[in-house]
Structures are given as structure tokens and as C-alpha cells.
Symmetry: C2
Subunit: 172 residues, 2 copies
DNA sequence: GACATCGTTTAGAATTTTCTAAATGATGGT
DNA sequence: ACCATCATTTAGAAAATTCTAAACGATGTC
């Protein structure tokens, strides 16, 4: 009995490891750092909450890294702090409702980044409006530039509107 | 006349510089590198095509960097190679149809990244199906894990379907 | 209130990523 | 065919990011 389950046992833990690394590669591919994906993957596959040190041990990282990364995950609502009775350590578990993570964590972050870009588009647009003459460009060229800026501003507006709408509801 | 336009002239070029840097910050914020956004912003505000050396000069980078980054932009269909009669240098101009950039450049890249994550989810799911017993987890916990994996697989499927649909048409 | 244990901060080490100069390859002009 | 000029490749420098050990602060325990 025990011997029969041993081989699969080994391959399961190895598969979990692969899963964790794949999570890290995914977040890294999207420019979010490798650790955050590894950590979320670990917690997502854990029915039981983990303490900071548990996490650090499993991922073979320092407690310092674990602390900083878990706070980032908390900001994104991807991880919850769960109190464990009679233990003053911090325990964490993964948020399993992706809707919450996307809506409260990811989308606000994306919108914030887009807002920075959008404000510069408008700033340039306004600067262009007060500059009818240029030694670098002909009047016709300036019209083209202004049109492109308006197109960019329009795209930004559409994107932001879409992200703040109930698109997410439909999705999940 | 000339004196009257001089002050605005200065502020316009400065504003263009700000625009370019903002473009760089935006792509960098989304994990795409700072240079690619700076370069696209430069070309987007240029009615005339630029040669590789033009680009390198304006952005104060080496021709080597310009070459590698422009190829990346080409892969994303964000920049077009335009032949200039009687000049064997390569000239480039920005693609101004964002629909094309998103549809042919960004979305395929995103889907590719998601596909990697998705295949690992399924792989783990299959491994879990063949492992009914574990010394680390109770049977009830294993059920929870399997359910979470199915949820993740489902999310991945929805996401991928959405990205490959005509969502983009509606958007732009 | 001193001690023990935990989480956070921070200064700097280690790694990764980005960038460039130089070499190479490719192509057109003479 | 040779030279001149351009784009690309690559090996290694430079810069940015990520990670950690140690110091610190906070909180519960005896």
C-alpha cells in the first residue's frame, strides 16, 4: 500500500514544484517579478495557511523577501492574512476568487499606470495647441502630429472606460 | 515674428521630450523595457520616417540598441519599414492604427505567455488525478487542491477565449 | 519590565537585464 | 573587384533590479 503510493507521491511534489516555478515565470513574463508568482502559486495549492517562515522555507528565500513580497500580494488582494488562534505569527492564505484579485488588485494598478500616460498625452496636446509655428515641422506636419495626439488621447479614454466598466463581471 | 515664436518653440520640443520619456515609463511599467516605449513615442510624433541613426541620435542611444529595439517594434507591428527612394538606409515610421498593433502584436504575445501558464495548470491537474494518496495532505485537502486547479484551468480558458475573440473590434 | 519571538527596514551584495563598442556581414556604387 | 556605408551580432561593460543578512522595532510572555 504505502509502497504503491510512493512513486506517484514523488512525482506529485515535483509537479507542485513545477507549478510554482511556472507561476513565477508567468508573473515574470508580465513584468511583475518572479517571486510574486511563485509565492501565490505556493499558497494557491495550500489548503492550510502558511506562516512567513513556512513560505520562506518552501521557496528557499529569505524572510525579508517573503515579507516584502507577501505585502505586495496583499495590496493586490491576492492573499489574505488569517489569524491563527494562540499563535502570534502571521499566517496567509491565497484569495481563490480571481474576480476579487482582478477587480481590486490588478485593474486599479493598470488604470493607475494608464493614467500617468494619459495625463502626459493631454499635456503634450495642450502644449501643441499654443505652438502654431515650428522650425522643425511644416504646418501640415504639425496638423498630423496634433491628429495623432488626439487619436492617442481617444484610445486612452476608451481603454480607461473599458477597464473601469463591468467588463470584469462578464469575464468571470 | 521669429522672436515671438521662439519661447513656445523651446517649450514644444521640451514637451516632446517629456512625451517620449512618458512613453518609456509606460512600457517600462508594463514590463516591456523603457527603450521600446521611448522609440515608439518618438516615431509616433514624427510625420517623416526616421533612419536608424536618426533614432539613435534623438534618443541618445547606440545604433546597436536602436537596431534591436526597432526589430522588436516590428515584431509587434508597431513600426513599419518604409523604403526611401535613392537611399539604401532603413527608414521607419510608426503604425498609427492601434487596432493593428494590439491585434497583431500585443494580443498574440499575451496569449503565448498565457498558453505556457495554462499548459502547466493542466499538467499539474493530470498529475493530481493519478495521485489519490499523499502523506502531506488529507483526502479532503486533496479535493480542495484539485478544485482550485480546475478553477484556474477554467479561468485560463475564459481568458484565452476572450483575447482571441472580437473583443478588440469592439474596443477600437 | 526584561526576555523572547516575530515582522520590517535598510545597506549593500548578488544577480539579471540592458546597453554599447567592436567585429562581422551584407549591399550598393564606382 | 574594391571601397564605402549601413545593419546586425556578440562579448563584455554598465546599470538596474532583486535578494539577503543584520539591525531595528514591535508585541506578547513570564
Amino acid at each position: 500500500m504505502q509502497e504503491a503510493s510512493m512513486p506517484s507521491q514523488v512525482s506529485w511534489t515535483r509537479e507542485v514544484r513545477r507549478f510554482i516555478e511556472a507561476g513565477g515565470n508567468t508573473t515574470h513574463a508580465f513584468g511583475l517579478g518572479r517571486l510574486i508568482g511563485r509565492m501565490f502559486a505556493l499558497l494557491y495549492l495550500s489548503p492550510k495557511p502558511y506562516s512567513l517562515e513556512d513560505i520562506a522555507t518552501h521557496l528557499e528565500i529569505s524572510k525579508a523577501s517573503a515579507s516584502m513580497t507577501i505585502r505586495q500580494l496583499e495590496e493586490w488582494h491576492a492573499v489574505r492574512h488569517v489569524p491563527v488562534e494562540g499563535d502570534r505569527r502571521d499566517f496567509y492564505e491565497a484569495e481563490t476568487e480571481f474576480r476579487i484579485i482582478v477587480k481590486q488588485g490588478l485593474l486599479p494598478g493598470i488604470r493607475k499606470k494608464l493614467a500617468t500616460a494619459g495625463s502626459q498625452i493631454h499635456r503634450t496636446l495642450e502644449a501643441g495647441a499654443t505652438v502654431p509655428v515650428s522650425q522643425d515641422h511644416s504646418p501640415a506636419e504639425i496638423q498630423i502630429i496634433k491628429k495623432r495626439l488626439r487619436t492617442a488621447a481617444n484610445l486612452h479614454k476608451k481603454l480607461d472606460g473599458l477597464l473601469s466598466s463591468r467588463l470584469v463581471e462578464k469575464l468571470l
